[in-house]
Amino acid sequence: MEGFFGDSTIPPVLGIVLLIWLGILVYLFFIDAKLNKLEKRLKSEFENQIYEKSEGKQ
């Protein structure tokens, strides 16, 4: 199989699209990781708060 790229304008377009897609992917993974951290932090802060409240009542 030779000359898979049919039109000479297609490779640059594909290159640009893949670059944009790569950027979006990196951003999505980054946001996902950041959200995960935030979820963990909020969870522990919330648990601490409830614990402190119950301690205060006692």
Binding site: F4, G6, I10, D32, N36
Partner: protein, 349 residues
């Protein structure tokens, strides 16, 4: 075959997107799978060349089509003959056809060096009744996109534009389902799901409009033509933008959730009319409009309207973009959920 493949893509992607939960963090494997499928879909939508087969070339030749097109045929070195009188090479093909191919560049004769499928770039010369080959684009291509006069290389955008519009409809349907669930249970998480899905649905409506505008510029001459389908998607954009206007206008969360859930149900009742009915009643530029003989290449049961490779890549794109939609929805729900949790946390303090 066509409806089965399309339904299968939607069902599997929806199952993967909603399992085990729409709001729980997706596993790394899930995200890696989505990223890989989307990358493959993008590559398969851009890589293969477009090519007309020899019968289509015959048809175009009869119509005196004179712009350059890509034609696929099978030939062998024995079928390439040099004609000293006219000083050009004549190309015979294995296909029983009426179209003749010639070329004058000596270097091309060296490239026809074995029995193979060739995609050539050629222009029809009506005076000589031949197709003049200017270049060989591909030899033994694995896949080819169909050559559609007037669309040519732009056929690829169909696999981005149509799935995005369909995903927007799926998103608005899901948003309505969760709005009903909220009104039934008064559980705030369903309102969160409904609004987050509507936001991503609006994003996909915007993407469908943008890709359509790019397509329209190169096919119909301008970005916006006030075609019935363009008008209906514009109205849809306004309706769902108003949904967020409404949400932002109300401060009390319970009132906001109740009002926007009712609005979401009312808004979705317009979607089937705006997407499936109105553009098919009026004459327009889009395929499947009132002036068209079929209901469009994707939904029509007529044979030959959608080439097999185009159907497979369309289903793959639909599947991949649906997975991306569920990923974005998941992120949006978790982000909004954290904002609510933060509010609860500050309230506690």
């Amino acid at each position: 075959m066509k409806p089965v493949l399309i339904l299968l893509s939607i069902t599997i992607a929806t199952f993967l997107g909603l399992y085990p939960s729409i709001s729980k963090r997706k596993s790394f494997l899930w995200k890696f799978f989505t990223a890989t499928i989307l990358t493959i879909a993008i590559i398969l939508n851009f890589l293969p060349p477009t090519a007309a087969n020899i019968n289509e070339a015959d048809f175009l030749a009869r119509k005196n089509h004179q712009s350059q097109i890509n034609i696929l045929f099978t030939t062998a070195p024995e079928l390439i003959k040099y004609d000293s009188n006219s000083n050009h090479w004549e190309v015979g093909t294995f296909n029983d056809n009426k179209t003749d191919f010639v070329f004058t560049d000596k270097q091309l004769s060296n490239q026809f060096n074995r029995i193979a499928e060739y995609i050539v770039r050629a222009t029809y010369i009506p005076e000589e009744r031949v197709y003049k080959i200017t270049a060989i684009n591909a030899i033994n291509p694995i896949f080819t996109f169909p050559y559609i006069p007037g669309l040519e290389e732009r056929i690829r955008i169909m696999n981005f534009h149509v799935p995005m519009a369909w995903i927007a409809v799926i998103a608005f349907l899901l948003s309505m389902i969760y709005a009903i669930k909220y009104l039934k249970s008064k559980d705030i998480k369903f309102d969160l799901y409904s609004s987050s899905i509507a936001a991503i649905g609006l994003l996909f409506t915007f993407l469908a409009t943008t890709t359509g505008m790019i397509w329209a510029k190169f096919n119909w001459g301008s970005f916006w033509n006030w075609d019935p389908r363009e008008v209906s998607i514009f109205i849809l954009l306004l309706i769902y933008s108003a949904y967020f206007g409404l949400r932002n206008a109300v401060n009390n969360y319970d009132t906001k959730a109740r009002l926007s859930s009712v609005y979401s149900i009312l808004a979705f009742t317009t979607v089937p009319f705006l997407v499936f009915v109105l553009p098919r009643l009026q004459a327009g530029l889009h395929p499947g409009s009132g002036s068209d003989t079929s209901i469009g290449p994707i939904l029509s049961s007529e044979k030959g309207l959608l080439n097999e490779y185009l159907l497979y890549t369309f289903c793959l794109s639909l599947f991949a973009f649906l997975l991306l939609f569920y990923w974005l929805t998941n992120l949006s729900i978790r982000l909004n959920n954290n904002q609510i949790s933060k509010l609860d946390y500050t309230r506690l303090q």
